[in-house]
Subunit: 215 residues, 2 copies
DNA sequence: TTTTATTTTTAGTTTTGTCTAAATTTAATT
DNA sequence: AATTAAATTTAGACAAAACTAAAAATAAAA
């Protein structure tokens, strides 16, 4: 499998979680910053290799084989992110790009040894679960902060949007995974929240609350 | 710079250490397991990018810029090898292939943080020196075991040949970097050595002694 | 110094992954 | 149901990196 093929498979995997019936050509092109015609070409190749099932105009889904490959790439991506943050001291907004390259290093032994070295982490620095060596993903129980009842206490377990901008906003507000959050009040008009994070009171827009997972 | 370009630059660097006047097309082809005609094509491209100076039929040398790039690739290769051995527990004969891929990950910050994490090692698992962030290589004093006087004590500091076969032979004989070696006797006929390694007596062919560096 | 052998380069293809522009299919609107 | 719009695919082209076969240059041998 080439790096390009792996990038396609991974994108199809992520899009499948949202649209399991089939992923559109255009959606894939958008994620990979390429053109729809290039996607069509690649779908034929991946279909020949039995990694996706594809009928033209109908979108694609991953085959068993493709799904497993995708999970292994995601596993590598997330384990490398843990390494970069926990061992090398990168901050959580700096690691995605580098992991995007590291995820393509081809050695099962490497990734399993890395997993052990890191202490078999369950989640990456953004709270996303790490598939085990067999591809099994332990689902992490979580709710969006925007959908949680008032006056209960939670702690942050992940982010939905892991863009640099959002992560840096969270850093600025001293919100990190593990922070304790209590929703004090919700504004009816625009769903703005008043919250207490690690004891400190804060006002948070719905857009923020909608991208923060708590448990 | 593409992965392929980087592999060429690195090979030219290694060959330059032996033939500094200019590296042949065929030698490069041999190292990269490709054809001479492919090398010629690539030399034109690298020359256009001012990484090598090339006149046809006359061989190539690295430019200032090419030399620096080469050292950075070697730096990455060797640091990753240290990581694989020291942190992940790979043995020294397993790491070359994986480092061959890892050396192409493009992030200066990554490699400098890795360097710090590893404690700024001076040499890789095979005793080869690691260029610093500026490309400076501290030369390691060393002699081949085959060229050392009799009855003096040394310790192993590196291997010339780092093929799996040779490294596994050394493992079998319990010879590692750091081992204390004393040459007891040298056979006139074929230069076979009788040595004491960490106190244990051993007979060693000239081919072996010719690939083991001591200090 | 010719002749022969070796090395290196050129010319012409191939494969992978991309692109643009045009054609086709499906979806959405009148 | 017919028309328009949007999404998708085809056709044809290109750049990167490789190959084979043939030509040219250099080195070695007679
Ligand atoms: Mn990637
Ligand atoms: Mn992540
Ligand atoms: Mn390499
Ligand atoms: Mn090495």
């Amino acid at each position: 499998m080439t790096i390009s093929e792996e990038n396609y498979i991974k994108v199809i995997y992520h899009l499948s979680l949202v649209s399991p019936k089939g992923v559109n050509t255009n959606a894939i092109a958008g994620m990979l910053d390429t053109k729809a015609s290039s996607v069509t070409d690649m779908m034929k190749k991946l279909s020949d290799k039995d990694l996706v099932s594809y009928q033209k105009y109908q979108g694609v889904t991953l085959t068993e084989k493709g799904l497993h490959s995708a999970k292994m790439i995601v596993r590598k991506h997330r384990l490398w992110e843990v390494f970069l943050v926990d061992k090398l001291g990168f901050s959580w907004d700096e690691v995605h790009e580098i992991a995007e390259e590291l995820e393509h290093i081809k050695s099962e032994q490497l990734i399993n040894k890395l997993d052990a070295f890191l202490g078999y982490p369950a989640a990456d620095p953004h709270g996303d679960p790490i598939p085990d060596a067999k591809g099994v993903i332990k689902k992490i129980e979580k709710q969006l902060l925007s959908e949680v009842e008032i006056n209960a206490s939670f702690h942050c377990v992940g982010v939905k949007d892991s863009s640099t901008d959002f992560l840096k906003y969270l850093d600025k507000q001293k919100i990190a995974l593990g922070s304790v959050v209590k929703v004090i009040d919700k504004e009816d008009f625009d769903d703005t929240l008043t919250v207490e994070i690690d004891g400190k009171r804060l006002t948070i827009s719905n857009k923020i609350a909608n991208n923060l997972y708590v448990q």
